[in-house]
């Protein structure tokens, strides 16, 4: 008797859930269909990113497999340059860009981002860890920062190179400092306070007359060319994606502490000319398939995850990982980054 009652109750519950779920699913499907139709009409997405042509080709080809009717066009630009371009676009009112792959903080402050509030209604199964909290951006897999050096150039007795050893006089003029992403010094924060970092830079880095480079790609290339022997705050994803020339032992070594960047946002812009196609692209980026594509072509992988080469690599080196906390921290890091560049004789105006 009890079993019959339980069975009937279960039956009723299932029916009730279905009565709710089926319309929700149908509603979502309907919305997806409408979005797809509108996106097809737009037919194109314009994105500002720093993806090299081969990387971009891999990403766009995979996207086209999912959505053949939509073309993605990239304007290759680093984040700060892209932001400057967007300022001009917004100021002139002549908008051409739909998406940009850069830090969200400046865009948010400038009122340039466009949230997509019903994202989860349209795509209820979206992976939420790959969506930015503002619901205006998809996140490509995170990167990791650390001390990177050329073991064939750095004197053997200094290896393994640590932050303490960067004061060695033999490294004078051989240490690289990034003047574009000057705020990446915050990758050291959980280990050191802001005061400690500033003091460290003042007493160790500045006297070494470091070589300045313009963006993490430039810094990596200088490392490849041997113009710098060590980058204290280097984006290590380059190590996994860029070719290493034969004959040069260009090996990045994980430091004791690795700053793990949360995923790099691909942001939907306010009044984008092709908003529907852009939304499709954003959603696609959040899928497992796309995350794999980004890892494959960009070298960005989850350092916590042992199944990818990035995670394996950090585990092998016994690196301790830490995460950035929030955008507020980035804003603070910029202030201290600007102070660091001032110490190096480079005046940095506010953005």
């Amino acid at each position: 008797m009890k079993q019959s009652i339980l069975a009937i109750a279960l039956l009723l519950l299932t029916a009730a859930v279905n009565r709710v779920a089926i319309p929700v699913a149908a509603h979502a499907q309907d919305k997806q269909q409408k979005l797809l139709e509108a996106a097809k009409k737009e037919g194109v997405i314009d994105i500002i990113a720093t993806w090299r042509p081969k990387e971009a080709e891999g990403i766009f080809t995979a996207f086209r497999e999912a959505y053949p009717a939509i073309e993605v066009r990239q304007t290759m630009m680093a984040g700060a340059v892209g932001f400057e371009r967007l300022r001009a676009e917004f100021a002139s009112g002549r908008r051409t860009t739909d998406l940009i792959n850069t830090s969200i903080i400046d865009l948010k402050n400038a009122g340039m981002i466009q949230p997509w509030p019903d994202w989860y209604e349209v795509f209820p199964k979206t992976r939420k860890d790959t969506v930015h909290a503002t619901l205006s951006a998809a996140l490509e897999p995170g990167g990791a920062y650390g001390l990177v050096y050329r073991p064939d150039l750095v004197p053997k007795d200094l290896q393994p190179l640590t932050y303490d050893k960067l004061s060695d006089p033999r490294l004078r003029g051989k240490i690289g400092v990034n003047i574009r992403q000057y705020y990446f010094w915050d990758s050291l924060y959980p280990k050191w306070s802001e005061e400690q970092i500033l003091n460290y830079v003042k007493t160790v880095i500045v006297p070494q007359k470091p070589r300045l480079y313009n963006g993490s790609g430039d810094g990596w290339e200088m490392l490849v060319r041997g113009e710098v022997w060590a980058n204290p705050v280097s984006n290590t994803h380059q190590y996994f994606s860029r070719y290493l020339p034969k004959g040069i032992k260009n090996i990045a070594v994980a430091p004791d502490w690795v700053g793990v960047e949360s995923g790099k946002p691909i942001v939907l812009l306010k009044d984008a000319p092709h908003p529907n196609a852009a939304k499709l692209f954003l959603h696609w980026v959040t899928t497992d398939k796309a995350q794999e594509v980004f890892f494959k072509h960009r070298g960005r992988g989850n350092p916590y995850d042992d199944t990818n080469i990035v995670g394996q690599w950090f585990k092998k080196h016994g690196a301790k990982l830490f995460e950035y906390e929030d955008e507020l921290r980035e804003a603070q890091a910029r202030e201290s980054g600007a102070k660091i560049l001032q110490m190096l004789g480079v005046p940095v105006p506010k953005r």
Binding site: T50, R52, P53, K54, Q74, T75, M76, M77, A78, A80, V81, F83, E84, R85, R87, A88, E89, F90, A91, S92, R94, T96, T97, D106, N109, A110, G111, M112, L153, I179, R180, K209, R211, L212, Y213, N214, G215, G217, D218, W220, M222, V224, R225, G226, E227, R242, P245, K246, G247, I248, K270, Q342, L344, G345, V346, P347, V348, P349, K350, R351
Partner: protein, 579 residues
Amino acid sequence: MRPLAVARQVYAAKVLPHVNLTSFILVGTVAAIAYLVVAPIIFLIWSSFRSALPTPADPGVFTLENYVFVYTSPATYTLFFNTVIFVAVCTSIALVFAVTFAWLIERTDLPGKRTLFVLILLPSAVPSLLMGISYIILAGPEAGLLNRFTEELFGVKPFNIFSIPAMFVLQGVNSVPGTFLIVLAALRSMDPALEEAACVSGVGWASTIRRVTLPMMLPAVLSAGIYTGMNIAETFEIPALIGVPIGFNVLSSQVYLSIRVWGNHTVASAYSVIFLILLVGMVYLYQRATRHSFRYTTISGKGYRPKLMPIGRWRYPAVVLIVAYFAVTAGLPLLVFVWSSVFPSHEPPTLAILSQASLEGFKEVFGNSTFLRCVKNTILLMVLTPVLTVGLISIASWLIVRSNLSLKSKTLLDTLTFWPHAYPGIVLGVALLWFFIVVDFPPVWGTLWPIVLGLTVSYMPFTVRTLNAAFIQVHQELEQAAYVSGASWLSTFVRITLPLILPALASAALWIAIHAMRSLTVPMFLTAQGNEVLSMLLWTYWDNDMVEAVSVIGLLYLVVCVALSLLWRRIGFKELQKA
């Protein structure tokens, strides 16, 4: 009344017609030039007092913050000092080479002068962007091809392009061809009688140079120095490529960094205003130095053809010097791009790696739709810029040379068209960015036109000098005959005047086309989605460490630049000398 007097009367009546299409064209041209030359700079100054470029969340307010930031930063004074040192040293290097080469070509019995002359001028076809990049690939401290080569042979790596002396030398030798032409023209117009008298009196050639030739050339060298200094002050590429990494910033690189790295347009405007003041000062000095240049003209009917000085055993070292100069400034960069476009790594040039040659880089570049779009835009730019510049300036130049405007008006127009020489390309780019965004007239932002208009302003000074010289050399009689026969001003201008100065027009147009193709600083801030040009793509690729693609595009660039320069030398060089 004599026919010529009648003609003059009719001519005078036609020169500034009162109403109709002609007056519209003349007045419209002057207005357009004034608008393009003056308005952007007004907006540059205005923008330096704004808090930000307007965005949806922040329309910006009036502020002195930018100037406070700039003037209270000790680094600004370092920047200014660096800029002065950079200009002074590089100009001196350029002058030493240019005066030596001009003297060797013009006054000595150097063998193979025609070829050597081309070898001195050809490096002008190598854009400084490519020169800088090629030397980074060549003389980088560790992976530079030269260092890899010497390391294999001798176990040492002696070259390092990332040093202040190397940067100065590179910029200095890159500026030699332009300086050489100015000094050569001055040397040609000097009476050699004094030098010959010195020789006859038993003074050796070295002493003649020191005591006669150089003192006579001093005014010309001075004006050439100021002119070269202006060009070096506004140059951006080598300071950005080599100066920034070693912390040696100059004003042009600081303007770039302020916008493109730190995203602050208004501080960039404040830096630009200082930069502009510096350049205006130099233009003023240049105009003062050249205003009375006729006082130093020693050309005369007799003895114009100088007796060539025998330099004996020094002939061959002199030839080697010129060939070495060519090799360093043009030959090596070309070879570097050939090498690195086929061997996509930093491998030293050895026989062992010849088997690794690959055309992948070419395939990647030619298969890239952005590259093809840039090629199309660059070709358009190379057509539209010369047409617009030569079109506007031919009318302005006619007004300056031919019209019966008052001397004051003519001087004003002449100054107006020459004034953009004081606008560093990077400053003009910033000014036009503000201008086209805020004023939005003409409403062309986002198209190729802002770049075309920017370059038009940039090339006005050169074009007006070239066309003024051409107009002066063509007598008015043919035009007067046309007026007497009832032709309108427009018809006479199009059918008589312009065909008469066609070589000068072609020369100016070709020169502009070459420079438009090479220009980086003006397009840098005016690029929007779809209007990208090749120079900008080259910079972007370099900025994103795509050495193979840079090498492929650099190689194509050099080949086209050299071919066009040779063509220009054939058809237009004489016009430049006249100017």
